[in-house]
Symmetry: C2
C-alpha cells in the first residue's frame, strides 16, 4: 500500500527542507505544493495579499491530483501548508494511506527564518494571516521544529515505525483486557502479558487470546523477559495494573529489560507524585514514562476511553497515533486522547476528573433522596424523571446510568433497595481533597462527597446517633413539604456548575503551582466530551466556553444558571433542613456561595483571634498590601 506523507504547517517552518530529506530517506518523490501555485496566486503573495479560500481551491485540487497519481504507484512526500481541516480533507480524498506531520514552531523562530530566506515569493508579512488561518490538526504527528534536523528525522522514523511495531500490554484485568481488545480491533499487533500467580492468575494472557477471537493473533506471555523480547527494537508498552506498589514493582522489573527510547504508558489511576518519581528513575536510562489517566470504565476502555496523557512531549507524539486511535471521539470528531502537559499532570487531571465525578455522584444521590423522601416517589418514577431530564441540558452519562439503575429490579424489588449503603472509595477522591487542602483551594464539593462515603461505613456512630438522637426511615415523611420537582431541577443545575467550578479551580491552581504551562481547560474539557464518566451536555457547553476564558463562571450558561437558580437553592436548602432530608453537597454549595455573597465575612474575628493568642498579625481592612499589624491585647 503506497503511503503519501504530508508535511504541513505555516510558511517558514521547514516543510521543504525536512520533506526533501524524508523523501530521500524513503526513496520517494518529493512534491512541493508551493511549486503548483498559479501565477496569479504567486503575484498576490508577492504583493503581501493573503490568499482566499477561492484562490486556494484550484491549487489544492492540483496538489491532490499529484498525490493521487503518486499514491497509485509507490507513494510520495508532499510539503503543503494545508492550514485548514477542510483543505486536508480535500487532499486525502481517495488516497490509500495518508500520514500527516504537522511542523510546529514559535512565531519568533519562523520570523527569523523567513527574514533570511532568499528567492521566495512569500513575504514575512503574510505569516500573521497564516497563523490566524491555521487550524491545528488533532490527528497529525506534531513535530517540534526547534529540534535538530537529525532529531526530527529520528522522531519521524519512530512515529512511522509505531504503526508496524508490536505493542505490548501489561496487566490483563478488566481494564487491560478491554484496552487490548480495543487496540486489536483497530488493527494493532499486540504482545500481551500478565503475571503468573499459582491458583489465582494462571495463563491469564493465553486465556484472553482464547476467549476473545480478536486477540487470537496476539502473542501471550506470563514471563516478562520473553514478553519484552517479542516487542523487538521498538518497545512501546501500555501498562494497566493497580496503581501504587504493583505498578512500581513491575516498572522496576521492566527497567533492566528495556533500552533507551522505550516508552511506557501507565494507564492506572496513579498518584501523580508516584508517576513523577518513576519518570525520573526511568529517564536516567533514556526510557520515557507517560502518565495516562484513563476514564470510561470497562466499556470505555473497549469502545474508546478518554485519556489524559503527560510526560515528555516528543514521546507522546511518538505513541499519539496509537492512543488517539483507541480513544473516544467527541461530537466535533476530535480524539478524546489529550496531551495535558509535563511530569504527572495527566494523572493529576484524571484525579480531578474523578473528584468532579465524586461530586456528581453525590449530587445525583441527594437528588434521589429529595425525590424519594421529599416527594415520596418510588424508584421507577424517579427513573422516568431522570430519563426526561436526560433530554435537557441536565443530560449526563451519570444521570443516564442512574436512571437505568433505578429502573432495574432484582427478584422483583428495585435493586437499589437491596444494596448495602456502605460506600467505598479508592485513591483519587481522597488525593483531590488532600491536594486542594495543600494548594489552598476550597474543595467543599468533593470533600463532602468523600466524607459521605466515609461516614456511610462508620457503623458505630450511625448506631449511636440512631439510638440517642433518633432514626429516620425513608418515606417516613408524611406531611407534604414545600419542594417542587422544578425547584429540585433548578438546584441540580446550579450545584453541578458549582461542583465543576471547584474542580477546574484546582486544575488551574496546580498548573500554576507545579509549572505546567501547557495545561488548558479547553483541551481538557474537549477530551471529556466523550468516553469519560463525567461526559455531559454541560461538558460540551464548558468545552466551547473554555476556548475564550479560563473562568467557568464567565461562561454565559453558567452565569445565567447561577444567577437565576440561586433563590431556589436557598429555598430548597431551608425546606430540606426542616424536613431533615440530608443534602450535604447541596448545603455545602449554598454555604460557600452564601459566604462569597457577604460584603464582610466573620473571618475578621478569626484574624483577631490569631493575633491575640499567636501574634500572627492582621491587616487593616482595604489595606491588604500593608504589613501585618499586631495589636497589644491587654486584659
Amino acid at each position: 500500500m503506497a503511503t503519501i506523507y504530508f508535511l504541513m504547517g505555516v510558511a517558514g517552518v521547514g516543510k521543504t527542507t525536512i520533506g526533501k530529506i524524508w523523501a530521500k530517506q524513503l526513496n520517494l518523490p518529493f512534491i512541493d505544493a508551493d511549486d503548483l501555485h498559479s501565477d496569479s496566486n504567486i503575484e498576490k503573495m508577492k504583493r503581501g495579499i493573503a490568499l482566499s479560500d477561492e484562490d486556494r481551491w484550484p491549487w489544492l485540487t492540483k496538489v491532490h491530483s499529484a498525490a493521487v497519481a503518486e499514491g497509485s504507484t509507490k507513494g510520495a512526500v508532499i510539503a503543503c501548508s494545508a492550514l485548514k481541516a477542510k483543505y486536508r480533507a480535500l487532499l486525502v480524498g481517495g488516497l490509500p494511506e495518508a500520514y500527516w506531520f504537522f511542523l510546529d514552531a514559535n512565531k519568533e523562530t519562523i520570523q527569523d527564518r523567513l527574514k533570511t530566506r532568499q528567492h521566495h515569493y512569500m513575504p514575512a508579512s503574510l505569516l500573521e494571516s497564516q497563523l490566524a488561518t491555521l487550524e491545528i490538526p488533532e490527528e497529525a504527528i506534531h513535530i517540534d521544529t526547534s529540534l535538530s534536523l537529525d532529531e526530527i528525522i529520528l522522531f519521524m522514523q519512530q512515529s512511522v515505525a509505531l504503526r508496524n511495531a508490536r505493542i505490548g500490554v501489561i496487566g490483563l484485568g478488566i481494564m487491560g483486557t478491554a484496552i487490548s481488545r480495543n487496540m486489536a480491533e483497530k488493527g494493532w499487533q499486540l504482545s500481551i502479558y500478565n503475571r503468573e500467580v499459582p491458583d489465582k492468575e494462571e495463563s491469564v494472557a493465553k486465556h484472553a487470546t482464547e476467549v476473545y477471537p480478536i486477540l487470537s493473533t496476539a502473542l501471550a506471555f506470563n514471563e516478562l523477559t520473553a514478553f519484552v523480547k517479542s516487542l523487538g527494537k521498538k518497545q512501546y508498552i501500555f501498562m494497566m495494573l493497580p496503581a501504587g506498589e504493583a505498578t512500581t514493582m513491575l516498572i522496576k522489573a521492566l527497567m533492566p529489560l528495556l533500552s533507551a527510547g522505550a516508552i511506557i504508558i501507565d494507564g492506572a489511576n496513579a498518584f501523580y507524585k508516584d508517576t513523577e518519581m518513576l519518570q525520573k528513575q526511568l529517564a536516567i536510562k533514556g526510557i520515557h514514562l507517560l502518565g495516562c489517566g484513563v476514564s470510561g470504565g470497562e466499556k470505555g476502555a473497549l469502545k474508546g476511553p478518554a485519556m489524559m496523557v503527560s510526560g515528555n512531549k516528543q514521546a507522546f507524539e511518538v505513541v499519539a497515533p496509537l492512543l488517539k486511535c483507541i480513544a473516544a471521539r467527541n461530537g466535533s470528531g476530535n480524539s478524546c486522547c489529550k496531551y495535558i502537559g509535563s511530569e504527572g499532570s495527566g494523572h493529576y487531571v484524571k484525579m480531578v476528573h474523578n473528584a468532579i465525578e465524586y461530586g456528581e455522584m453525590q449530587l445525583v444521590a441527594e437528588i434521589y433522596s429529595l425525590l424519594s423522601i421529599g416527594l415520596a416517589l418510588d424508584d421507577a418514577s424517579i427513573a422516568t424523571i431522570f430519563k426526561q431530564w436526560n433530554e435537557t441540558d441536565l443530560e449526563s452519562y451519570l444521570l443516564q446510568i442512574s436512571g437505568d439503575i433505578l429502573a432495574t429490579k432484582h427478584n422483583g424489588a428495585p435493586i437499589v433497595s437491596l444494596i448495602s449503603d456502605k460506600a467505598y472509595a479508592k485513591g483519587t477522591g481522597s488525593w483531590a481533597t488532600q491536594e486542594a487542602a495543600k494548594l489552598g483551594v476550597p474543595s467543599g464539593m468533593f470533600t463532602v462527597a468523600l466524607n459521605t462515603r466515609f461516614l456511610s461505613g462508620n457503623l458505630a456512630v450511625r448506631e449511636w446517633v440512631q439510638q440517642y438522637i433518633g432514626v429516620i426511615n425513608k418515606n417516613m415523611n408524611t406531611s407534604p413539604i414545600d419542594i417542587s420537582l422544578e425547584l429540585i431541577e433548578e438546584v441540580y443545575k446550579l450545584v453541578r456548575i458549582w461542583n465543576h467550578q471547584q474542580g477546574f479551580a484546582l486544575i488551574m491552581a496546580a498548573a500554576k503551582e507545579y509549572g505546567w504551562p501547557t495545561v488548558s481547560l479547553a483541551t481538557i474539557t474537549d477530551g471529556w466530551r466523550a468516553g469519560c464518566i463525567i461526559r455531559s451536555t454541560l461538558m460540551d457547553i464548558l468545552a466551547a466556553g473554555f476556548t475564550t476564558t479560563d473562568n467557568l463562571l464567565e461562561i454565559d450558561y453558567c452565569k445565567r444558571v447561577m444567577k437565576n437558580n440561586y433563590s431556589s437553592l436557598v429555598k430548597l436548602a431551608a425546606n430540606s433542613m426542616e424536613a431533615e432530608i440530608p443534602i450535604p453537597i447541596i448545603s455545602e454549595a449554598l454555604q460557600s456561595i452564601l459566604q462569597y455573597k457577604q460584603k464582610v465575612l466573620a473571618t475578621s474575628l478569626i484574624q483577631a483571634q490569631r493575633d491575640y493568642f499567636g501574634a500572627h498579625g492582621f491587616k487593616w481592612k482595604n489595606k491588604d498590601t500593608d504589613n501585618f499589624q499586631h495589636h497589644n491585647w491587654e486584659f
Copy 2:
C-alpha cells in the same frame, strides 16, 4: 543541698537491688522502707492480706522521719513502694530536695521475679492489690525496668545530670524567647542561640540577655559550634524554629557537632512525617529527636504551655523534668507536658489540636454572625454575652479572648470592624484535612473551617458572586428572624462536641494505622486542660470522661447535649438558611448528624453507579461480610 532519692513502685520491681547500687554510686546511705514495717504489718502481708491506709500511715511516718534525718546531713537513697500520691506527699514534707524514680515493669515480669524471690514476707498474691492501689506518679522519672541494670543506672545518672546541665535553646523568635524566659524563671541554666543575618537578625541572643533580666546569666551565641561547645558533655537542646526547611537545615548543621546521647526537642509545628524522617537520620548517630507540639502562644510559652512529646521513651524520661517543669499545670495539679507515643505522634496530636482549634474558631465566628446579623447585636453586646457564657459550661479560652476582642475599640470603633476579613492559615489545618482524607475519617468540621479561610481570600470569586448573585451587607437583615439567644447557645454547645468528636476520631484512627499503642485520649485531654489554646470546661469534662471510654459520644455530658440540643440545631440551620446567614460549620454538623440518622443512606445508589461504570461491585444489604457482587447492567 542534700537530696533524698526515692525509688518507688510495686513489690518485685527491683527497688532494693537498684537502690543499693545507686546508693553505692553516690556514696549515700540506703534505706529500705520494707525494713521499717511493724511486726503486725509484716504478719498481715505474710498472710496475704493487703495493708490499709491505716496500716501504712505509721510506717510511712517512720520512713519520712528517716528521710528528714538523712536530708539534714548528706542525703540518702530510699526504696519505698509509695503507691499513692498522698503517701508521697507525706514522705517529701519538709525535705530540702527530693528526687523520685518510678520503677515500672509489666505484670508478668514482676510475677516471675516474685516467684523466684526467697526470704521475703510479701507473697506474690498481693501484687494485684498493689497494682490496683498504684497511682502512677506524673512527676517521677519513669524507669523501664526491662532494661539491663547498667542501662538503668546510666539512665538515672543522665536524669540527675540534667538538673545540673546547661540547656541549649535554638531560635529566639517570639516563642523561643518566651520558652527561654520560662526555663530561666524555673532555675535552669541556659545557652541560647540565634543565627546571624546581617541587617535582619543581628546579635539576637545577646540582645535577649540584655532585654530580659532573667536571661542575663544565659550564655548568648550567634555561632553554632561555640553554642554546642558551651553545653559540655550533656547536650540537651530545645529548638524553636519555623517548621520545615529552617528546622531541617539547622538539624543537619547540628548533627556533626553533637555526640551520641544528645537529645534535641523540636518545639515547632512540624509535619509529623518530617519529624520521623529526621528522627531516623539522627538515630544513626545515636542522637534522639523528640517531636514536641507546643500550644499556648507566646503567653503560654512564657507562663506554661501544653506540650505533646513523642519519640524515644527513655530520651523523653531524661528531659521530662525540664519539660514538665516549664509546662502548664491543670486543675488537678498535673503537668500539661505529656508523652504521647513513638515516632512523630506528638506533632501529629498537635496537628489535631490545631484542627480542633480551627473548628472552634470558625464556630465562634459563626455564632458571632448569628448574633450580629440574626439578632442585630453590636460587638459590645456580643462581648457581654460571651463573658456571660464564659461563666457556664461553654467556658473556653477561645470564647474568652473573643469576648475580649469584641470589647476592644480602635480609634473609637470596634476593632473587628476595621480588620480585613481575609483569613490566613499555616500548615496544621491543611495537614489535618489531608490526613483525615488519607485515613478515611470524616473531617467536615475542620475542613469547612479551613475552606472558609481559603475562600475569604478568593477575591475574584467573591466579586463575581457579589456582582451576579448579589451582595449581603451585615445588619441588612431588617425582618426579625426566629432565632433566639437560647437557641444559639444550645447549638453552640452541640457543635463544639461534634467538632471535638471528629478530632479525637482522627487521633484514634492514626494511632491504629501508624501503630502508636501508647496514644491515650485520657492523657492527651489531661494535657489540654491548661496551657493550650483549646483549653475549656468541655476539655475538663472530656478528660474525666476519657478515663473510662475512648468514645467521646459515650461521655454522659456529650450524650445529653447531643440528644437535647439536636432539634435546636435543625431549627437554627433552617432559619439561618432562609435568612441567608452563612453557617458553614454548623450546617456541616447538621448534615453529618442527619446522615448518621438515616436508617438507609442514598449511598446505595452510589455503590450501584460504581458497579455500573467501573465494575467495582457492591454488597447486598445486611450481608456486608459477603463478597462483592457485580450486576450485569444491560441497557
